[in-house]
Amino acid sequence: MYVLRRLPSLLATLFAVSLLTFLMTSLLPGDPALQILGAENATPEAIAAVRADLGLDDPLPVRYLHWIGDALTGDFGRSYRTNEPVSAAIIDRLPVTAEIGILAIVIALLIAIPVGMLSAYRAGTRTDKLISSTSFGLLAVPNFMVAIFLILIFAVWLGVLPATGWVNFTDDPVQNLRSALLPALSLAIAEMAVYTRLLRTDMIGTLQQDFVTMARVKGVSNRRILFRHALRPSSFSLMTVAGVQVGAIIGGSVVIETLFALPGVGRLLLEAVLVRDLLMVQGVALVIAVSYVVVNFTVDILYSYLDPRISHGRSTARV
């Protein structure tokens, strides 16, 4: 099975990523013990005690093993700042980031697919040129800029959507969606542009293929050709790209959550970094990195399953 063959590579990557995360935070200047105690309480004995307690004097490999061992059981330690367990903080915030990210991709696809198809179908016409120029232009607009403009229009001028704040889905679904809309949209705009351009290029190529001519000459309607014949091969490329774009969304969520004051994982990371909350940084960074690797892996597997050209690659029956 394809999954089994790819599994070792996945595990190796996860290991490497966790190592990188650990090294990243452990090799930084500054003494964590000092951070925890604060300058006033930093007597040599206190420092030594904290260091022993956290195992900071152990050799690096040992520290790594301790950390990763704990992490695998879900124990990421406690935040210096709030003393809450890191894992609790992450679990609390992950759904927010995930919801925004997923919403962003969904919105982007919902718009990009018809627009991209239209652009490809009418390639070379004014419609197409307009769409292409617009998506090219949108690529140059940073997500925080989009966010600001959206806030300006919808929160300040029109007053229909909130500029900050978050309501949990479980508390009030409608309000939840209202608070998620602008952030998701801010992320979605850039995604939209990427998907539209990709789909357009891909479909133009597909539409020139012989099988499209053959479909036409079977008497199939244009719409059916677009959606059922041409879109299918192109959708696989879209899927791959969407997977890669998750990285961009993760990066974007840090800014967007900060801008909109959302209780998400991105903002958690940022705050932890700014106050040098080492264990929190390590934990959150690990979770983010692992999610990213796993998502890409999943997309990879899905792609190989769904695209018949690949999944049947080995099992051809040649008569």
Partner: protein, 334 residues
């Protein structure tokens, strides 16, 4: 950075980019081959006419398009930005740091051509000096990335074998890690001066350039003239310098141009996170961040630096894309 990577590594079936909607083939209109493309007939084989003298199809030759108006406008804007960056101190603008609180949040007028910000500082001056930050960071970061990453990519693509495997494994691991996390941590712990930011971003972008350079090198090394040179006994160093390098530099540089836009945006993002160059030094990202709180009363404070940033990134994209289409090794028919 991921967005940039995305632009260059299109999935298998994508057919190359077209800059800004410029079509090189007319509308396919569902099916029929265009006469510009060679006849779909197969090779002329035994039993039919053997056309002595090569290709029979009277295909329309690929027209070398001149650079359009938008290209030149973009170049001009970039030149303006560059001049501002380099000669900021010499230009006849006001002092970007002097507050003029009475006149704060002023609209563009005779005294302050682009208005003032929340502390009454002249926007135009801050914009001009901010260009310096944007240009420095983007040029330094991209230069580091291109030189180091390009070098690594070329040698891994040229020598293949173990070198390539080891290098690319490391690169892929680094790329598997969301770059922003690394960036945030490094910046927060190491420092926030202009130099530090440029260096860190530069180093973090090396893996992407390695990948790009390798891909281009692979494509070039397969081409006939390189094989010919090697068969004639040219030493590796010679082949690298005379055949590979000139052909790899251009596509990578085109990619680098687009990457500069990404870095400029990155500075803006960092400003929003409080991790950009220390205040009160003016940066475009910082100006946008500062202006956000006045969004309802004086949106122009945010709008003006936003437009400047947008135009710069757009111009970089336009120029980079146009150059890429022109020099993309993988697309040409040599």
């Amino acid at each position: 950075m991921d967005a940039v990577r995305q632009e260059f590594d299109p999935p298998p079936t994508a057919h190359g980019s077209t800059a800004q909607g410029e079509m090189t083939t007319p509308a396919p209109n569902l099916g029929a081959p265009h006469p510009g493309a060679p006849d779909s007939a197969g090779p002329v084989n035994g039993g039919a006419v053997t056309a002595v003298g090569g290709e029979a199809a009277p295909a329309a030759r690929k027209k070398k398009r001149g650079y359009g108006l938008t290209f030149w406008l973009a170049t001009i804007w970039l030149a303006v930005v560059l001049i501002c960056a380099v000669f900021a101190d010499l230009l006849p603008v006001q002092d970007p740091l002097t507050p003029d609180v009475i006149n704060k949040l002023a609209l563009p007028g005779p005294e302050h051509w682009l208005g003032t910000d929340g502390l009454g500082r002249d926007t135009l001056a801050r914009l001009v000096h901010g260009a310096r930050v944007s240009v420095t960071i983007s040029v330094t970061a991209v230069a580091i990335g291109m030189v180091v990453g390009g070098f690594l990519g070329i040698i891994s693509g040229f020598f293949r074998g173990k070198t390539e495997t080891i290098l690319m494994t490391i690169i892929n691991i680094i790329l598997a890690f969301p770059a922003l996390v690394l960036l945030l941590v490094l910046l927060a712990f190491v420092g926030r001066s202009l130099v530090v930011i440029s260096l860190i971003v530069g180093f973090l972008s090396i893996p992407i350039y390695t990948r790009v350079a390798r891909a281009t090198t692979l494509a070039v090394a397969e081409r006939e003239f390189v094989r010919a040179a090697r068969t004639m006994g040219a030493k590796n160093s010679r082949v690298l310098a005379r055949e590979i390098l000139p052909n790899v530099v251009l596509p990578v540089a085109a990619f680098g141009l687009v990457a500069m836009g990404v870095v400029i945006v990155l500075e803006g993002t960092l400003a929003f996170l409080g991790l950009s160059v220390q205040q009160p030094a003016p940066t475009w990202g910082g100006m946008i961040f500062d202006g956000k709180r006045y969004l309802s009363e004086a949106p122009h404070v945010v709008l003006i630096p936003s437009i400047a940033m947008f135009l710069t990134v757009l111009s970089l994209n336009l120029v980079g894309d146009a150059l890429r289409t022109r020099f993309d090794v993988r697309g040409s028919n040599l």
